[in-house]
């Protein structure tokens, strides 16, 4: 499709297991963001990829969280040894990178709801 695609839509896992969340951005978008949205909270920035530059990992809450972006397109967010406090909706967004085509709009996926039991 033409939008940002995330999978899985919902994931239930047991404490201590690893999970992978996938994001497929809009074709041509060089910037990709991961956010975490906990119940009743705003969006917490996790990580930002821009083209081939080193990612901005400043929002990752612990070393259990990591993300990669292969070929400048699909991104995977990995959470190792999940904890109950990791339960949240993980949102991916993409946009054009720096330049005249960047009107500022972020295009979001529908998110992956993670529940850690």
């Amino acid at each position: 499709g033409a939008g940002v695609s995330q999978s899985p839509s919902n994931k239930v896992t047991e404490k201590g297991k690893d999970v992978e969340l996938r994001c497929d951005p809009i074709s041509g978008h060089t910037a990709l963001y991961w956010y975490r949205q906990s119940l009743g909270q705003g969006l917490e920035f996790l990580i930002y990829f821009q083209g081939n530059s080193a990612p901005d990992k400043s929002g990752l809450p612990s070393d259990r969280f990591s993300a990669e972006r292969t070929g400048g397109s699909v991104s995977t967010l990995t959470i190792q040894r999940t904890q109950q406090e990791d339960s949240a909706v993980y949102l991916c967004a993409s946009s054009f990178g720096a330049g005249a085509t960047n009107t500022g709009e972020l295009f979001f996926g529908e998110g992956s709801r993670l529940t850690v039991l």
Partner: protein, 116 residues
């Protein structure tokens, strides 16, 4: 540090009435963008309206308009002729450009319910 504050966790409005959602922000940046995003129960965030800080004219998009007060660092959203489909979480967001990266800061959201 950049912050975005939405002081109204929940609001309700009668269908066809007008409602205003508040947003204030704090920054030392001079060039930035401000946005309102809507998140319906389906979870997908959708851009409602954007405002470039260097533009004095308030942005409008059909029934949605903003009141941008740069000196006061205020950016409120007015929804006219509210419709049931406007029921959603609304997030105010601020974008700036430090050190070659675009950063977005989001508020905690206002849950709007439009009543029939």
């Amino acid at each position: 540090a950049q912050t975005v504050t939405q002081s109204q966790p929940e609001m309700s409005v009668q269908e066809a009435e007008t409602v205003t959602l508040s947003c204030t922000y704090d920054t030392s940046e001079n060039n930035y963008y401000l946005f309102w995003y809507k998140q319906p129960p389906s979870r997908q965030m959708i851009l409602v309206i954007r405002q470039e800080a260097y533009k004095q004219q308030n942005a409008t998009e059909n029934r949605f308009s903003v009141n941008f007060q740069k000196a006061a660092k205020s950016f409120s959203l007015k929804i006219s002729d509210s419709q049931l489909g406007d029921t959603a979480m609304y997030f105010c967001a601020f974008r700036f450009y430090p050190s070659g990266t675009y950063k977005y800061i989001f508020g905690t959201g206002t849950r709007l319910k439009v009543l029939a």
